[in-house]
Symmetry: C2
Amino acid sequence: MSELAPIRVVVLGTGAMGEGIVRLVLSKSGLALVGVHARRAERVGRDVGEVLGLGEQLGLPVTGELGTLLASARPDVAIHATCSTIADAWPEIETLVGHGVAVVSIAEELAFPAARAPALAARLDALACERGVAVLGTGVNPGLVLDLLVIALSGACQRVESITATRVNDLSPYGPTVMRSQGVGLDPGEFERAVASGEVVGHIGFPESIAAIAAALGLAITRVEETRAPIVTTVPRRARFRRITPGQVAGCSHTAVGFDAHGRALVRLVHPQQIEPAAEGIVTRDELVIEGVPRIAFTGSPEIPGGVATIALAVNLIPHVLACRPGLRSAAEVPVPAALVGDARTALARLGGPRGG
Amino acid sequence: MSELAPIRVVVLGTGAMGEGIVRLVLSKSGLALVGVHARRAERVGRDVGEVLGLGEQLGLPVTGELGTLLASARPDVAIHATCSTIADAWPEIETLVGHGVAVVSIAEELAFPAARAPALAARLDALACERGVAVLGTGVNPGLVLDLLVIALSGACQRVESITATRVNDLSPYGPTVMRSQGVGLDPGEFERAVASGEVVGHIGFPESIAAIAAALGLAITRVEETRAPIVTTVPRRARFRRITPGQVAGCSHTAVGFDAHGRALVRLVHPQQIEPAAEGIVTRDELVIEGVPRIAFTGSPEIPGGVATIALAVNLIPHVLACRPGLRSAAEVPVPAALVGDARTALARLGGPRGG
């Protein structure tokens, strides 16, 4: 990578996240969008500007052939926004790393892949080290609110007894898929069955966040317990695509607790997701509490918005993934994310310059 | 440094900070205290345990000869807690780096030395690079609350318009030196004269925090303006060493604003320091607000306590300073601080292992 040329970026994914990432990449100094990859065949071959509704042609066709794209576009870094699991992401990330391209991924499991896929994580780490590039997972949650911010605050602690981090958000703007995955509109009995069948999943990312905190602090967490309980509304509530009545489920209160070998709850993460929480006077927020010396409690309200912030993190971490040591990296192993206000090449130089290339 | 042997630590300074740091180092797995250096001649030669009131002898005498100490103790890292300015710290840090010892310093100016002492900062960076070790400044403020946490939160922003960070604390427990430096007990006229004469200094660290934020985000700040205004009490207030009556000064409201070349205020840092703020219903807190996309607002109340947290940060960052690339580093250039709950050697391995030695 030349120090003067812009950083060459490809984006994988043309959904809501991919679109936001493309728009943000285009707005930043020092970044050049050199390719967009889509899984959806009907988008391939059309201009990126048209597919993403940017209001102008970019002269850049969406491609479906990743290897061909990488060979011709020669990107420095890819932002990966196509899926949630490492298994699903594997072929794309393997191809990227194989071409010597650094990767920032918003796949939830990539935030701390060793939590649920240690074998794939080890393979990916070895491959990335061999090719001299880094792969970094990010996102608002997992990736920031319920893990990285907690870790950063713990840096001010002489001792840590336990951690409780809560994120209360509002699902009202989301579409039917999210409504289903959180059980919105079910009755409580249906909700329990839908949890058992795996149709209601709640939040994706608790094992990753707990493992990230445990690794960073050196907490000896040996077991994680997750519970998914229905949030039953007592008042009518409405969302963009759904109305519910008292007695129906407004969402999923998903909790994960990490225990040590003595059964002590060291980390408790709480993430109730529901439509229109304000209808029952519930304030959306991110609330981080460390019981220790000193006790630290921080609250942000409303919560950091998920989509907007995940897009921001993916782009803001481009300098970080290019500067950090090769391998599979997590958020607490690289310098703190920072808004990319100035030129991305200056930000990269501040972090020590490119390592991979 | 062997991977199995504990990390060898020396502490410079035997004041309140040095004492707390020594106690914390002694409590951590994987750290070995191998020396303590004091500037105060009357402490030299006495046992560290006795001088610091640890309740037991450590079999380790306080030393006043840094070079001799380093040659015999062969530390991997030093925690430097003797002063506030880089000029004052220079001989000690030059000696440490010259002996190939990594340094974590709580000197306020070391949080971002290029802000006020660019020439010394450049010399120190060159020396540290040459010797293959890192020098890292830290502390609760500057170093965490009004800079690193702001930077980390900005990572979730697509755009940043302006930043306002406020820290409201309580000086009541502090001694006569702090009372004087904040103007406690003066009348407003005396306060203005004491600001002009430099007797009332307010907070040390605003230029460092603003420069750290500007560097991390790439903000084009060209001018910093600081103001120190008296906080005149309307009710009686009392502190450990001082009582004041209505009309007297309870402390110093110190503000710094960073402007761009167009005169736009990009960063506003506010730090009123006073005795017994609760007497007028003022809640102590850390409040971080980023106006941008998204808007982010986080508040921690009470504020993260200064002394306890600065001691924690100094020790918790030992793995970070050993793992990071050589040179003069600031907080946003290394991975986020994390409480050192487990073994320090494991924490160091997580960050990639020792680079310096």
